[in-house]
C-alpha cells in the first residue's frame, strides 16, 4: 500500500511538473486585466472565432486569465487560407461595468499555440484604455451560458455594414542621390493590419488589436524608385465593416480581410533622409560605387495612419511579420561612398533604413 501511495505521489508530481499543454488544452492567450491600473477581481474572458465561442477563462487573483482552446479542423482550414494564421477575438469583462474587445492572431504548431511573429496581446489589458464603460454590456458578457467542453456555440453574429478597398501603407522607400531602391512586398510578406472598434454605432473608432493577412497565394508587387525618392508605398487591401451583435457583443468593427495587390506611391517621407551623419550617425554604413545592399526583414516598422477606411483613418499596418519584406539599394555614384543608416539600430537590425548624409 505504501508503495502504491509512493507511485501515486510520483505520478502526481509528474503531472504537476508537466506543461499546461500536456495537462489539458493548450493555452491560446493569457495575461491580466486591469481597470485604470487596478487589477480586475471578477468577470471572464471569452475567445471567439467569427462569433463562435471557442474558449473562456475566469478572472483569477491579480486579474490573471489564461484561455485554453483546443485546435479544430475548422481552425485548420482557416489557417491554410491565411499562411497558417487564425484570427481570433478576445472579449473581456469585469462583470460590473467595463468590457473590451481585442483582435489577435495565433498559429498552431508543434501541438501548441504561438503568436508567431504577430503583435503580442498586451500582457496587461486595461479595460479603461481598450474598452468601454457600460454596466449592461459587462453584465451580459458575464451572463453568457458557458458551453460544455467541445461545443462552440455562436454568441455573436456579424452583419456586414459595408465593404471597401483601400490602399494601405506596407513599406517605404528611401533614396538620395546616386541610389535606386527596389521594395518588394507580397508572396514572401504578410501584414498585420490594425482592427477598428466602435462602441457607439460607428461615431467614433479606436484601434484594438490586429488581424493577420497572409499573402502567400498572391504574386509579389515591387516598387523600383530612383534617386532622391522617399515615399510611403501602398498596396490595396479589402476591408469590411461589421455590426457585431449578440448576448455579449454589440459593437462595430472594421477589419482587413484580404490583400488585393497593386502598388502606388504614398506620402513623401524624405524628411527622414540626409541625417545619416547627424541624427543617425551611430547607425550609418558606407557603400562604394556600383555596390548593392539587400535586406529582408520580418519585423517591419508599424505604420500609423496607414489607410483611411469608412472614414476612419486610424488603420495601422506592420508588414512582413510572418515572412519577409525586401529592400535592395544600388549605389551608382562615380566615386566616393554613399550611406544608409538605421533609425534605431545598425541597418542589419533596424526597423527602418534611411539614406544620405
Amino acid at each position: 500500500m505504501r508503495r502504491l501511495l509512493a507511485v501515486a505521489a510520483a505520478i502526481t508530481i509528474a503531472v504537476a511538473l508537466a506543461s499546461p499543454a500536456e495537462a489539458g488544452q493548450p493555452i491560446l492567450v493569457h495575461g491580466h486585466l486591469t481597470v485604470a491600473g487596478s487589477s480586475v477581481s471578477s468577470g471572464r474572458v471569452l475567445v471567439l472565432l467569427d462569433g463562435a465561442l471557442v474558449g473562456w477563462s475566469p478572472i483569477g487573483p491579480g486579474g490573471r486569465y489564461a484561455v485554453p482552446v483546443a485546435y479544430s479542423d475548422a481552425m485548420g482550414t482557416r489557417g491554410q487560407e491565411n499562411n497558417g494564421y487564425i484570427n481570433f477575438t478576445l472579449v473581456a469583462a469585469d462583470g460590473k461595468e467595463w468590457s473590451s474587445v481585442y483582435a489577435f492572431s495565433r498559429i498552431w504548431s508543434g501541438g501548441g499555440w504561438s503568436r508567431g511573429t504577430t503583435p503580442a496581446v498586451p500582457d496587461t489589458l486595461d479595460l479603461a484604455r481598450w474598452g468601454v464603460r457600460s454596466a449592461s454590456r459587462a453584465r451580459n458578457i458575464s451572463a453568457i451560458t458557458l458551453p460544455n467542453s467541445g461545443d462552440s456555440p455562436y454568441v455573436c453574429f456579424n452583419t456586414v455594414i459595408g465593404n471597401t478597398d483601400a490602399y494601405t501603407t506596407i513599406g517605404e522607400t528611401h533614396t538620395t542621390s546616386d541610389m535606386t531602391e527596389v521594395l518588394t512586398y507580397g508572396k514572401t510578406a504578410d501584414s498585420d493590419v490594425g482592427t477598428g472598434i466602435s462602441y457607439n454605432q460607428g461615431n467614433t473608432w479606436s484601434l484594438s488589436g490586429t488581424v493577420h493577412i497572409g499573402t502567400t497565394k498572391a504574386a509579389a508587387v515591387s516598387w523600383t524608385r530612383g534617386p532622391n525618392y522617399s515615399h510611403r508605398e501602398s498596396s490595396q487591401f479589402h476591408y469590411t465593416e461589421y455590426w457585431v451583435q449578440g448576448t455579449g457583443c454589440n459593437y462595430y468593427t472594421i477589419v482587413a480581410t484580404k490583400w488585393n495587390g497593386g502598388a502606388i506611391d504614398g506620402s513623401d517621407v524624405s524628411t527622414y533622409d540626409h541625417h545619416c551623419k547627424t541624427t543617425y550617425n551611430q547607425w550609418k554604413v558606407a557603400f562604394a560605387p556600383h555596390t548593392t545592399f539587400l535586406r529582408s526583414t520580418n519585423n517591419y516598422v508599424t505604420f500609423t495612419l496607414a489607410a483611411t477606411v469608412f472614414g476612419w483613418g486610424g488603420v495601422t499596418n506592420q508588414s512582413g511579420m510572418s515572412t519577409w519584406v525586401q529592400g535592395s539599394w544600388s549605389f551608382s555614384q562615380g566615386s566616393g561612398n554613399r550611406y544608409l543608416c538605421g533609425n534605431d539600430d545598425f541597418p542589419t537590425y533596424a526597423s527602418r533604413i534611411f539614406a544620405g548624409t
Partner: protein, 195 residues
C-alpha cells in the same frame, strides 16, 4: 497491476526529469548568448582581382554575457574568394560610422563620413571582448584571386564564453564580380532579389 502502475509512474518521472535536464542543457553559458544576429542581408559589387576590399555589416552586440571573439570566416565561400584579415570597429568610439562594402582594406579615411579628418579606429579581432550592452562591428578584409563571380552565404564568428568555444553564422551574404571593367554596372549579385 501494481507493477504496471509502478512502471507507468517511473516512465512519467523519467520523462519529466528528462525534459528538465534538456531544459537545463539549453541554458548553458554559450547557448543563446547572441540570440539575434540581424535580418538576412546580401551585399556585393564589382571588385578587381588582387585588390583587397572591406565587408562590414556583421555586428556583435549586446551579448548576454561577456564574449571573447576568436576568429571569423566566410560560410561556403566560392573558390577564389578569401579572407585576408579582420578588425573590430567599436561604434561608440567611432564617429565615422560603419562599413557596408568599400574598396580598401583596412578601410581608408572617408572624408565624407569623417569630416574632422579622423580615421577609422580599428582593433585586432582575436581576443576582443564584447560585454553586455556593448557592440562591435566586424570588418572582414576580402580579396578575389581571379576574374569571375564569387559569393559566400554568410559569416561565421567563433567566440568563447568562460573558455567554452562557440560558433554562430551571421546571415550576411556577399557576392563579388571581377574585374570591375567587365562588371562595373551589371554585377548580377542579388539572387533572391526581385529587381
Amino acid at each position: 497491476m501494481r507493477r504496471w502502475i509502478i512502471a507507468a509512474g517511473g516512465v512519467a518521472l523519467v520523462a519529466v526529469l528528462a525534459a528538465r535536464v534538456i531544459t537545463s542543457l539549453d541554458e548553458h553559458p554559450g547557448k543563446g548568448t547572441l540570440p539575434f544576429l540581424g535580418y538576412p542581408t546580401l551585399t556585393g559589387g564589382p571588385m578587381d582581382p588582387g585588390r583587397p576590399f572591406t565587408f562590414g555589416l556583421v555586428y556583435v552586440q549586446n551579448p548576454k554575457v561577456p564574449i571573447v571573439i576568436q576568429a571569423v570566416s566566410l560560410e561556403q565561400p566560392t573558390d577564389g574568394l578569401r579572407v585576408i584579415g579582420a578588425y573590430v570597429l567599436v561604434p561608440a568610439e567611432n564617429p565615422c560610422g560603419g562599413i557596408g562594402l568599400v574598396r580598401s582594406f583596412p578601410p581608408e579615411r572617408d572624408p565624407t563620413a569623417c569630416p574632422a579628418g579622423e580615421s577609422y579606429r580599428l582593433h585586432p579581432l582575436r581576443g576582443w571582448v564584447v560585454r553586455p550592452g556593448g557592440a562591435a562591428e566586424i570588418l572582414l578584409g576580402l580579396v578575389v584571386t581571379r576574374p569571375g563571380v564569387f559569393s559566400a552565404k554568410g559569416v561565421n564568428l567563433a567566440y568563447s564564453v568562460e573558455g567554452k568555444r562557440s560558433t554562430v553564422e551571421y546571415p550576411d551574404a556577399v557576392t563579388v564580380c571581377a574585374p570591375r571593367t567587365e562588371f562595373d554596372s551589371h554585377c548580377a549579385l542579388l539572387p533572391g532579389s526581385s529587381s
